[in-house]
C-alpha cells in the first residue's frame, strides 16, 4: 500500500509581514503536513522568526493567508490562534521572572485534549520538579529551555513553533533537546523549528526551508540533504 501524503496542518500562501514601516516578509508560501518536522534556516535577519511570529499573530501587520487545520487565521487575534492548537516557544525562551517555575508551567491555557499532565511533565523533566517553587529566571539556561518546552507540551498543542531553542546552550543540553525532538516527532507532533544551521535537526527534519531576505530561497528534503550541503553552507554563509 503506498504511503498516504500526510494531512495538511499548516498552509501559508502569499504572506507579507510588516513591523511599522519595515516590510519583512515578501510573499512566503509553505505547507507543513501533520507530524512533519520542518526547519526554517537562514542568517540573522532573514525573516525566520518573523514567519513564526506571523503564524501566531505577533507581527505588526500581515497579509496573505495562513490556515491552521484548515481555519483561516489572518484576521484572528493572537489568543484565538493559539486555541487552534499552537504552542509557541519564543527566542530567548520567554520565561517569566515574576512567576515561579510551576506558575510558568501552568500559565499557557490548555487548548486541546491530550496534553501532558503535570506528573508526566515532571517525570520527563525531573529538574523542574525539584525547582518548582524557584522563580523562573533563577534556573540555568538549559533548565529554562526545558521549562519553555514543557509548558507548551502541557497545553495539548500539536503544532509547535520553536525559535532557536539550542542557542547558547551547552552541547550536552543540545543533545538532550535533540532526543526530545525525536520523542515528540514519534508522538506525532508537528514541529516548525527555526535554526541557524541544519546540523541540529539534520537526521530528524523531513524538510529544510532556506529563508533569505524575507523570501523562501530553497527547499531541501531529507533525501537531498547530503547532496546539498555545499549549497546550504553557501546560503547560510558558513
Amino acid at each position: 500500500m503506498p504511503e498516504a501524503a500526510p494531512k495538511e496542518m499548516l498552509r501559508i500562501s502569499g504572506l507579507h509581514a510588516f513591523y511599522g514601516e519595515s516590510h519583512i516578509l515578501h510573499g512566503i508560501d509553505l505547507v507543513v503536513g501533520e507530524g512533519e518536522l520542518v526547519t526554517l534556516l537562514g542568517r540573522n535577519g532573514a525573516g525566520r522568526t518573523t514567519i513564526l511570529k506571523s503564524i501566531i499573530g505577533l507581527v505588526g501587520s500581515r497579509s496573505g493567508s495562513i490556515t491552521v487545520h484548515g481555519t483561516e487565521t489572518i484576521n484572528l487575534p493572537t489568543h484565538k490562534i493559539a486555541h487552534l492548537g499552537i504552542g509557541y516557544c519564543p527566542e530567548e525562551r520567554g520565561i517569566f521572572s515574576s512567576l515561579t517555575v510551576e506558575e510558568n508551567l501552568m500559565l499557557p491555557v490548555v487548548v486541546r485534549k491530550g496534553g501532558l499532565s503535570l506528573p508526566e511533565i515532571y517525570d520527563m523533566f525531573p529538574n523542574l520538579l525539584e525547582r518548582r517553587t524557584s522563580m523562573g529566571t533563577r534556573l540555568s539556561g538549559g533548565e529554562q529551555q526545558m521549562l519553555a518546552m514543557a509548558r507548551i507540551l502541557r497545553t495539548g498543542a500539536n503544532l509547535l513553533l520553536l525559535d532557536e531553542i539550542t542557542e547558547g546552550l551547552a552541547p550536552v543540553i543540545v543533545q538532550t533537546l535533540r532526543q526530545l525532538m525525536g520523542q515528540l516527532k514519534e508522538r506525532g507532533f508537528t514541529i516548525i523549528l527555526v535554526e541557524q544551521n541544519f546540523h541540529f535537526a539534520a537526521d530528524l527534519a523531513d524538510r529544510h526551508y532556506v529563508i533569505d531576505r524575507g523570501t523562501i530561497a530553497d527547499m531541501i528534503t531529507r533525501d537531498q540533504l547530503s547532496a546539498s550541503t555545499g549549497k546550504l553552507n553557501q546560503y547560510l554563509g558558513v
Binding site: 487575534p77 493572537t78 499552537i86 517569566f96 512567576l99 500559565l107 497545553t155
Partner: protein
Amino acid sequence: MGMSVQTVLSQVMLGLNNGVFYAILSLGLAVIFGLLNIVNFVHGALYMLGAYVALLGFTMLGPLLGKPDFHLNYWAALIVAPLVVGALGVLIEKTMLRRLRKFDHLYGLLLTFGLALIIQGVFTNYFNVSGDAYDGKPESLSGVVDLGFMLFPKYRVWVIGISLAVCFGTWFVIERTKLGSYLRAGTENPELVKAFGINVPLMITLTYGFGVGLAAFAGVLAAPIYSVSPVMGSEMIITVFAVVVIGGMGSIMGSILTGLLLGMVEGFTKVVYAPASSTVIFLIMVLVLLVKPAGLFGKEA
C-alpha cells in the same frame, strides 16, 4: 515638649487612618501602571466620584426615583460605587485608552489628566466646592473604641481594618493565585501571554476597571470622615503620587507598605512639628529620589 507616648501613639493612629487611603489609592495606581503602563491621573477624580455615588445615592437617588424615603445605604454604596466607577473605567479603557496603546505612554497620562480636569470641572459646577457632609454613616459604626492609650472613633477602626483587608487581599490575589500569575506575566510580556491563548485585551480592560473600582471604594470609605467635595480627589492624589514615587512604580506590596508608612510618618510629624506635617512626605520624596531614584521598592531600570 509634651511628647508623651500617648500623644505619639494617637497621632500615629490618626496617621495610619490617612495611610490606608494612600495605600488603597497607590495600590490601584500600581496595578494599572503594571499592566497598562500608564500613570492614571484620573484616579483622584474617580475616588471623588466614588464618594459622590455614596452621597448622591443617599440624598438624591430616592427622590429621583419618586421614592423620597429611599436611601442607598452605606453598605450598599460600598458595593455599588466601585461597580459604577469600575464600569465607567471599563468604558474609558475601551473607548479611549485602548486607542492610545500603540503610542507613547505620555499620551495616556495626558488623556487621563484631561479627564480628571473635566470630571472635577463638571462637579465643581454643580456641587459645593467647600464640601457636603455625608449623613449615611451606619449607626453600628458610631461611637468610640477604647484602644487603651486613646479613645478612637469606631468608624476609623473599621476603615483601617477593611482597607488593610482589601489591600492584602489584592496582594494575595496578584502574588499567590493563578489569576494573579496571568496578571504578573501580562505585566512582563503581554505579547507572549497572548500567544499562550489568554485574552490579554480583556484582561487589561478588567484590570483598569478593578483599579479604579478600588479608588471608588476608598471614596466611599472617606465620605463619612472628610467632607465630600469636587476637589477631594485632586488634594488627595498629589500626596498619593508622592507616595507612589517614594515606593517605586509597579510594586504591589511596595505601594501598600509605603502608603501605610507615610501616613504614620505624617501623623508622627504632627507631634514633633505640626506645620511640617503636610510637607514631610514631599521632603521624603526628594530624599528618596536623590538616593534611590527607582523608589524604595522599585526595581532599578
